[in-house]
Symmetry: C2
Subunit: 487 residues, 2 copies
Amino acid sequence: MSDSEQEQELGITEQKEYSPGKWYAEVVQKAGLADYAPMGGFIVVRPRGYALWERLQANLDGWFKETGVDNAYFPMMIPESYLERESDIVEGFDPEVAWVTHGGHEELEERLAIRPTSESIITPYMAQWTRSHRDLPLRLNQWCSVVRWEATDTKPFFRTKEFLWQEGHTAHRTEDEAWEETMTRLDQYHRLYEDVLAMPGMKGRKPEHDKFPGGDTTTTVEALMPDGKSLQAGTSHYLGTGFAEAYDLTYRDEDENEKVAHTTSWGLSWRALGGLIMTHSDDQGLVLPPTVAPEQVVVVPIWQEDTREEVLDYCEELYAELEDAGVRTVLDDRDERNPGFKFNEWELKGTPVRIEVGPNEVADGEATLVHRPDGENVVADREGIVESVEDALDTVYAKLYAAAEEILEENVREAHGRSEILGTIGQHGGYVKTGWCGDEACEAEIKEQISAEIVMLPLDEEQEPVHDTCGVCDDPAEETAYFAKNY
Amino acid sequence: MSDSEQEQELGITEQKEYSPGKWYAEVVQKAGLADYAPMGGFIVVRPRGYALWERLQANLDGWFKETGVDNAYFPMMIPESYLERESDIVEGFDPEVAWVTHGGHEELEERLAIRPTSESIITPYMAQWTRSHRDLPLRLNQWCSVVRWEATDTKPFFRTKEFLWQEGHTAHRTEDEAWEETMTRLDQYHRLYEDVLAMPGMKGRKPEHDKFPGGDTTTTVEALMPDGKSLQAGTSHYLGTGFAEAYDLTYRDEDENEKVAHTTSWGLSWRALGGLIMTHSDDQGLVLPPTVAPEQVVVVPIWQEDTREEVLDYCEELYAELEDAGVRTVLDDRDERNPGFKFNEWELKGTPVRIEVGPNEVADGEATLVHRPDGENVVADREGIVESVEDALDTVYAKLYAAAEEILEENVREAHGRSEILGTIGQHGGYVKTGWCGDEACEAEIKEQISAEIVMLPLDEEQEPVHDTCGVCDDPAEETAYFAKNY
């Protein structure tokens, strides 16, 4: 294939602003992140997509381990009778469960659920392993895939029947300790967005009617997507004692009394990658923060026949020096592609910094650093190039974060009264803060009209509501609600 | 619970020599590695077991990446029609497949297999991603769980319906390149056993009738277990062009002709952990090489009331110095347990080196290092303790390897003639080398009588057979066969 044919095939044809859904699907496929599986609702994660997941994992897993969490692995199948022991969870997940009914040529006596989440198989084991207060806290996590049979259009990383995630499960002596745990994990999720994915996240609580089935309180990190919808980007649940009671998770306390443990669970899925891709990318393709980019820097030599050798030598030394310094670098010295083609391809792939080296750079002992996504050029001295590149990477991260933060700040608006709420969300998307009486019916009314719902309440329940009365029914407001359309 | 009650509960009651099966199950459970799941054939991997898997993974994954392999993730479910496209694979795995037939409350139009292995879903995608010779070699790997519905007794890590593994899948231009790949992976598996798990492994080929369904040649690493059986410890398959043909994996070569690729696949599962546990452990519990032990060193202070403070201070400094040096160390300063209890508990857990510190050690500026499993004592100067501990860890590794190697060397025997083969395996277990005519019927005869089979043929097909005639039928021998009972 010629450069121009290949370029056409690789180019992003959809525009983020006008057809965000098609644009997203195109970026995911053309940047080599994922493909659609033959069965609706499933995807194939390609190496460049999986590499993002591995970097996310490495960060989060490290923080978990530093804070007392051990990894474990529980069966992917859960007997139906186990699911049924906690009535809320079976009601909450039953319509979405994939069932294994046959093993080989035999029908199973009891059908087995592919785990939609693992409280119902993990909690009974935590119960077995817990005898005295000395066994607590007990903190387990597993990285695995789960299946939820939702009948929706496939959207890679955002909406898939099978998805990769981590699910943490902990048990504690007291409500206070379990609450602290819940917040520790929420803070780690928030940190992942802030410090690794260059995305500002908002921490909050879900309303009662939208919490984890059978749990006490669900906390959430919400991230605003460029299409104006909120992404539930990670949830941490204080489960109270309900699961512990259902699965006999008790412990002998110092006072010799048998007490019921307080449990938490918390999960973050590859949906975080969906948010990452959608937030930063543009009409040229993927944009990645240097923290997770498989290649942080691409060196592109620009030469004519008579300058080929000196330019390539210069580039090879540059490449070696950057690699030695721990910068993930690639030298694109392919003969069969011209520099323009290479620029486009690495832009499509989201490489944060491009280094251009031509005969002029060689002669002057310099290198031109180009930032993705804004194309800003910086000419740097060859001497001290590592530092310049590291600065450029930090700058790219800061730019990405600042852009996302600006969008978030512009898109949290106050509104009061049905028509103002509907109009604001309808016109701008984003979040609308309003007073809320606490009645689900008020949310239902908004939801019915524009599919926006309460995605978040402030974490601090004592905080004064933004308005004295409910933005929908005008009864006294109990708290502030954040309405938004969501994923 | 008192020390003595707890000790009794923790102690290993079975003996490795006389009831290896029960002893193994007891070690696995009491050392906190795994528990049985409610459904037969499934296990729960506890943190201390999963930590072993993580260290194994880190090693192997690193070597894969250094040699051009990218991780990816494919769906856990495979449509029945995909499985059927390669007739050998469907015949090979059909009796062992778990089927998903319902999603939520709906019956599926086409039932979905939980992957027993993923050639049939991965190869079609490799085909999509491969156009020209420039796209090859293509090397993918995934870490995942697979399910094979075999109706056997559960033996944690050895025989489970669901197991964790990695499966690598690659495509190449030529047979030579694919063969080289097959051997690269086999060598990496061998290296894992030799350099990480302290187990000598033997490399070989499987006989035709025991190769991967649909493949060309299956190579294997076999490890001898202390009960005299051989463990198939990792397999690497040269698949020829059969899978590529079935799933249209072709490429345009430099000469512009469309050619069929040659593929390989290779897998290693948590069965490696089973081999590790069974090989080294003893009647006191788990024995681990320092390479994979969650804690490499435990420091146990031994004090009376009047020496408590000085001993603990000394231990804390020792602990800090070892941790700083990157030695995974735990200081067992629990007040509620006596030193003898602690010794037993850390022996059960397989910690390679115990450091005992009492008032004498403090006074003399020393520390006593005790090796697991042979209890060898070394008194080391406090000065230079890091080096002494590192030496001790190396020594423990070397001891474990040497012990396993000695058992292997003693248990490869030559035999010729039905009765000698049967007698040798019956009496000693281990491997019997004999000439083989190449006819499966000769293996079947031995298998029927003592369940021993040909676990391996030499890799080098040109090698002269050990005998001129087949050990079973006396026809001319084509090669050397290694008979053994196996897992």
